[in-house]
């Protein structure tokens, strides 16, 4: 270290400092730097433990995962009062005709990064396709490319679809695959036996 008493030696001091820096001086700051890469050192990843199954809220702008592997049709029993959806396992489907409906579960995400399944009714086997279902499906398909929000229009009997005009960055999707997300979403909502409480309730056995 030097004093600041002689400004004529600036160049000399600069040169000295540079020379010091180039050698392996253990006290040189360039050799003392510690990493600030907390992402590598912390080793933390966010666990997805809840995946709701619901329609988008009227205020929420949402996107739907564009990959076909992230949507599937399921036989679903809907408890309307509780607003709960249950998947029926394939073995029970022939035994529960008339109790379930078929819905597509789209993997969706809102602006806050909450991942959820958006259930949309398929047309019935008789060809019935209400405007609610149709407009919902159109909205979901549109949401594969842009941020949209949907709001029920009771007068129209369908959903109004609003598309974000400004260019908003694409969402950051979770690393989990579709079936892993399904497992999380329906871990307590799977009808896999005829004495399941939901079936009992539908049959007036509770």
């Amino acid at each position: 270290m030097t004093t600041n008493s002689n400004p004529n030696t600036v160049a000399e001091m600069q040169s000295t400092t540079d020379q010091q820096a180039s050698t392996a001086d253990p006290f040189n700051p360039t050799n003392l730097r510690l990493s600030q890469s907390f992402v590598e050192t912390a080793g933390i990843r966010k666990l997805l433990t809840n995946v709701p199954v619901r329609k988008p809220s009227p205020q929420d702008f949402v996107r739907v995962h564009p990959d076909p592997a992230y949507r599937e049709n399921f036989p679903i029993i809907e408890l309307k009062d509780e607003r709960e959806e249950y998947i029926v396992v394939a073995d029970l489907v022939p035994l529960l005709i008339g109790e379930f409906v078929t819905k597509t579960l789209f993997t969706a995400i809102n602006r806050q990064g909450t991942v959820f399944f958006w259930p949309v009714r398929l047309p019935s086997p008789e060809g019935k396709n209400l405007d609610w279902w149709r407009s919902s499906r159109e909205a979901a398909e549109l949401a594969m490319k842009s941020w949209i929000r949907v709001r029920a229009n009771m007068n129209l009997g369908a959903y109004d679809i609003f598309q974000a005009e400004s260019v908003i960055s694409d969402p950051e999707w979770p690393q989990l695959g579709f079936w892993e997300l399904i497992k999380i979403a329906f871990r307590d909502h799977l009808i896999d036996r005829l004495d399941h409480p939901v079936i009992k309730r539908l049959r007036g056995q509770l």
């Binding site: 270290m1 400004p7 400092t17 700051p29 510690l34 907390f38 912390a42």
Partner: protein
């Protein structure tokens, strides 16, 4: 084992009058390897220290910018390797309670060491030496014994602390204590005539100031700020002022500052209140040579930044008072600050390329607005000033972990606007946010965070997530400041003071350009070293004698105050 041929533990006693350089009274030093003892009284100081110096000698002093300040006064060459157990004790316990404080006694107590000889019966002697009234009251022998007591106690502390010290980085911190000593030695040049004039007339000026400013508000009764009148003013002006839990208006300085930013019409009132409350002109520490000198209190803040006394430091009180700063005849002063330092640090350390691109654009806040697609790509500060200001406030506040409510207040907009701004920041700078989350996770998992040079904070019993998220920006900013100060001072720049993310330097006209170049190069180099190669730019503002320095935020108030001086004295303003 310490790789030094000699280890010198030293302590000075010195007289330190407000604003003046220290006057060394005595020095006691112990060389630990050989056991040699040095006891030097004021009339025995030679041209060099009594012990050997050089890169293989370790100098140890407790809060040693004071010792090194005495070195400067004695014109001794600075020790090349400095270890300061005060700084290391602060580093070791930063964020944790230290029941007896962080002074020598506190550090000894913390480690359960014998405190004999440190504090007993010393208050009177300490004060007498400090204010220069020791002659005739204490003998040189008594003062030397008193001084040696601290050296012995410091050696006790050192032996315990050595096992806990990361030596190479501790020496980098010690190196800064030499730079701090240089800045304390230099001081900030003050217009003494004007200071004297203000001191003499301040009582009368205060009344006139209240009358002049309060006519727009009607909130004062004499010199008393009346809460109910202020509430009435706010209601009439339609300003939604924050309230305390009790329901009363929050009149804290922080709230006033924040509200003055969102509602500029409140700014003069804020300035007036802080002038009346905080400004004690006689406390401003100015030496007989017209330099404002204070102890910088290096490493006192949790971020390790300096924490000089607000009342004694010219950069502490109201900003308008900085108009008192004036270069000496034939000299200029330069205020050199890093451009958007905290934003740059966040961009560099997080490795977020979008954020780095924003910084490199030269106007990171406008770039942020563009990246968030809130303004067109060809927007300028002139054409989209309002939008830029919103994104600027968001970009700044977000690094402090502000929430939607706080940001809404800061920008004077509904909460939904603030929420959208925060969302835009999250969306635009995802890598930064991932890094920030990881920094917080690291702190909570390991119990501490550290800077690039090992300044650490312990999370303690009640961790504050916002403060922890902000720590990497603040504390690495402090590292950058210290390194730049060391480099510049070692390259012979006269650095007068560090001010958060800036330095004030002084140079004669004929060397001004050279010193500005050297200072800026030091700041650029420091940023590269701290940020792993990412360089931060600097801005320079030059004030040449006979002009005075002026912070733009205080210009109106300065004009107002000086206009109230007696007519015959206004010429000096």
């Amino acid at each position: 084992m310490i790789p030094f041929r000699e280890i010198v533990v030293a302590d000075f006693e010195f007289t330190a009058l407000p604003g003046e350089r220290p006057v060394p009274v005595c020095l006691v030093a112990h060389e630990l390897r050989s056991g040699r003892r040095f006891r030097i009284f004021e009339d025995q100081f030679g041209p060099l220290p009594p012990y050997v110096t050089g890169p293989d000698v370790l100098f140890v002093g407790f809060y040693c910018s004071a010792e090194l300040g005495c070195y400067r006064v004695l014109r001794w060459p600075m020790p090349e390797r400095v270890l300061d157990p005060f700084v290391e004790f602060r580093n070791l316990t930063n964020g944790l309670p230290t029941p007896a404080g962080a002074n020598l006694l506190g550090a000894l107590t913390y480690f359960g060491l014998d405190t004999t000889g440190v504090a007993e019966n010393k208050k009177e002697m300490q004060e007498a030496i400090g204010n220069g009234t020791w002659r005739g009251r204490f003998t040189p022998g008594e003062i030397l014994d008193y001084c040696e007591g601290d050296v012995i106690a410091l050696t006790r502390l050192l032996l315990v602390m050595l096992l806990r010290i990361d030596l190479p980085r501790a020496l980098l911190r010690g190196r800064y204590m030499a730079a701090a000593a240089a800045m304390e030695h230099n001081g900030v040049p003050i217009d003494m005539d004007m200071l004297e004039c203000l001191r003499l007339n301040w009582t009368a000026i205060q009344d006139q100031l209240i009358a002049a400013i309060d006519c727009d508000y009607g909130v004062f009764d004499g010199r008393t700020f009346k809460l109910e009148r202020f509430a009435k003013y706010l209601s009439a002006a339609g300003i939604p002022w924050p309230r305390l839990e009790s329901g009363q208006l929050d009149l804290s300085d922080d709230t006033f500052r924040q509200m003055a930013r969102a509602y500029p019409q409140v700014a003069p009132l804020h300035e007036l209140r802080s002038s009346l409350a905080e400004l004690r002109l006689n406390d401003l520490a100015v030496g007989h040579d017209g330099r404002n000198r204070v102890i910088l209190s290096a490493f006192r803040a949790r971020s390790s930044r300096n924490a000089p006394s607000n009342t004694r430091f010219i950069f502490g009180p109201s900003v308008w008072l900085r108009g008192l700063i004036k270069p000496p005849v034939g000299c200029a002063i330069c205020y050199i600050d890093w451009k958007q330092q905290e934003f740059g640090i966040a961009a560099a350390l997080s490795g977020d390329p979008t954020m780095q691109a924003a910084y490199r654009s030269g106007d990171c806040y406008l770039a942020f607005a563009k990246q968030a697609r809130a303004v067109p790509a060809d927007a300028t500060k002139e054409t989209y000033g309002t939008q830029r200001e919103l994104y600027k406030q968001c970009g700044l506040a977000v690094l402090y972990g502000i929430g939607a409510g706080g940001l809404a207040l800061r920008v004077g907009q509904p909460r939904i606007v603030a929420r959208n701004l925060l969302q835009a920041h999250h969306d635009t700078y995802r890598i930064f946010w991932g890094w920030s989350d990881a920094a917080l996770d690291t702190a909570m998992l390991t119990g501490s965070l550290h800077t690039v040079f090992g300044w650490q904070i312990q999370i303690g019993e009640r961790p504050n997530p916002r403060s922890l998220r902000n720590f990497p920006m603040q504390a690495n900013g402090a590292e950058m400041m210290r390194l730049a100060a060391c480099l510049a001072i070692e390259r012979a720049v006269e650095v007068c003071a560090p001010i958060h993310d800036a330095f004030l330097i002084c140079a004669p006209f004929d060397r001004l350009e050279e010193h500005i170049v050297t200072m800026r190069a030091a700041m650029a180099e420091a940023s590269r070293i701290v940020l792993g190669g990412f360089e931060l730019g600097t801005d320079v503002s030059i004030t040449r004698w006979p002009d005075r320095y002026m912070d733009p935020r205080g210009a109106v108030m300065w004009e107002r105050v000086t206009s109230l001086l007696p007519q015959r004295l206004r010429a000096t303003a």
